[in-house]
């Protein structure tokens, strides 16, 4: 599904990513963990084209996508959420999701302004799909609330819902559990699992909550100082001394 070859990225002297390569299997949940500043968010930006890499190749669904605009990449079926929530705060929950449908709809200024039949049809359909998504992520009761008025936990879920509306093949989640309490984190884990199994969407997850990471991922990649220091299943990673030293710390220290 996704193949990274030698991704490097530098910010004025700071080497945020150096020669990162790995592949993500279709239909899996892959976690990306590592200390603060390891380059995880930078990597997600590189993959989604928001901040393209200096070097290396991103192959998505068999095609090279680096160099393409984030918009094009999104339309090819790659969607994401953000570490610092990036919701459209002045819009309602439903509207936020409908915007996600934009990648799959067409009506422009004239068609909308003149209410051409196809635009109206499209509008009805996006509304319907979006409401279904709200049901799916269990936010229907907030349908007409402003997104900025939701508690953080639900905002994180809403971002996932908005990303789902673009009908992605690959979903990148950047710290979706940050600011969530235990119960919400558990619900989030369930949601991610459902998205994987019911919708067959491949997921890359960046997260510091190890309980969540260990319980839902198939494979884990560990970054440190912009380099991949380990890859493996949750069990392997938990035992890896390098990872323990760099990131996990001794259990119950």
């Amino acid at each position: 599904m996704l193949e990274l070859n030698g991704i490097s990225k530098e910010f004025g002297g700071v080497r945020a990513l150096s020669n990162v390569s790995f592949t993500v299997k279709a239909g899996s949940v892959s976690a990306l963990i590592g200390p603060n500043g390891a380059g995880k968010s930078t990597l997600l930006n590189a993959i989604s084209g928001i901040d393209p890499p200096d070097q290396g190749e991103v192959v998505f669904a068999g095609e090279r996508v680096n160099g393409l605009s984030p918009m094009t990449i999104a339309r090819r079926g790659l969607s994401r959420t953000f570490q610092h929530l990036e919701l459209f705060g002045d819009m309602t929950v439903l509207e936020n999701v409908i915007v996600g449908r934009n990648a799959r709809t067409k009506a422009g200024f004239l068609a909308s302004g003149l209410r051409l039949p196809f635009a109206l049809r499209e509008e009805r359909e996006s509304r319907k799909t979006s409401e279904e998504i709200l049901d799916y992520i269990k936010l229907s009761h907030h349908r007409d609330d402003l997104a900025s008025n939701l508690p953080i936990g639900e905002q994180r879920v809403l971002e996932i819902g908005r990303a789902l509306a673009t009908e992605p093949k690959l979903l990148l989640l950047d710290e979706p559990a940050a600011g969530l309490n235990m119960r919400e984190t558990r619900d989030l884990g369930e949601l991610i699992k459902r998205i994987r199994t019911e919708k067959g969407i491949t997921i890359i997850l960046v997260e510091h909550d190890m309980d969540l990471v260990m319980s839902i991922s198939d494979a884990i990649t560990v970054l440190n100082f912009g380099e991949v220091i380990a890859r493996g299943t949750p069990l392997e990673i938990q035992k890896n001394p390098l990872v323990i030293a760099a990131y996990l710390g001794d259990e119950e220290a």
Partner: protein, 246 residues
């Protein structure tokens, strides 16, 4: 050291904090636990003066600080690490830390403050490496470290922490907590702590309060709370019912 008596806070018509009274003793770490939207952030912001209390009184070291301006409250030795970090995004890391010491800054003290900055750098080495970088370009976790470091630069006697662990790697959270414990033990720092991970918060705390929809519903020592079944079920992630079934 800090006493809240019947504090109420409103957002327009929303009654966010209802008749809250609590007591933080000098040299104690007090944990405040509650679900999302319970009113924790609101309460902390009221203490530090960012939000005005509707009624009630807040007494700090014997003097009334209810609805004082935040800058006056900072000068009295209360420092607040807010939710959402609120670092100065377009200033450098160094300037952020320096501004932390704003209320005690004077030319005479500048070498002293330099030294304090070194301390922060040794606590968060990554910040030193990034010291000329604009704070807004730091990674999420680095920003959180900066927010904590900036608050410590004020040399507070009471530190208010609102979810300091958010976005931080597990090792760092542990480190920060052990620092806080050290500061309490060696410098009599008093801490009011809100943390989503209630278990780890209660582990370092001396006492705790549980707040739900704006009301304090349980209070006690940390041990009491850790062993309270309702608290366990609601906030410590332990599925008591399931365990019982097994």
């Amino acid at each position: 050291m800090l006493i809240l008596k019947n504090v109420e806070v409103f957002y327009g018509k929303i009654h966010a904090v209802k008749h809250v009274s609590l007591h933080v003793r000098k040299g104690e770490i007090v944990a405040l636990i509650g679900a999302n939207g319970a009113g924790k952030t609101t309460l902390l912001s009221t203490i530090s003066g960012l939000i005005r209390a509707g009624s009630g009184s807040i007494i700090y070291e014997g003097s009334e600080i209810t609805n004082r301006n935040p800058d006056a409250i900072v000068k009295m030795g209360i420092s607040h690490v807010p939710e959402g970090r609120h670092i100065f995004k377009t200033l450098t890391v160094e300037d952020n830390l320096l501004l932390g010491s704003y209320h005690r800054y004077s030319l005479k003290r500048s070498t002293l403050i330099k030294k304090d900055m070194e301390k922060m750098y040794s606590m968060f080495p990554i910040l030193e490496k990034r010291n000329k970088q604009l704070a807004g370009t730091l990674s999420g976790g680095e920003q959180q470290m900066l927010a904590i470091g900036r608050a410590l630069m004020a040399e507070p006697r009471l530190l208010i922490l609102d979810e300091p662990g958010t976005g931080l790697a597990p090792t760092i959270v542990k480190e920060i907590f052990s620092h806080i414990v050290q500061l309490r033990d060696n410098h009599e720092l008093t801490v009011l702590l809100v943390e989503q991970n209630a278990r780890s918060a209660l582990k370092i705390a001396d006492s705790g309060y549980v707040i739900e929809t704006g009301r304090i519903i349980v209070q006690g020592t940390a041990e009491e709370l850790l062993s309270n079944r309702d608290v366990q079920r609601a906030y410590l992630g332990r599925d008591v019912d399931a365990e019982v079934k097994i």
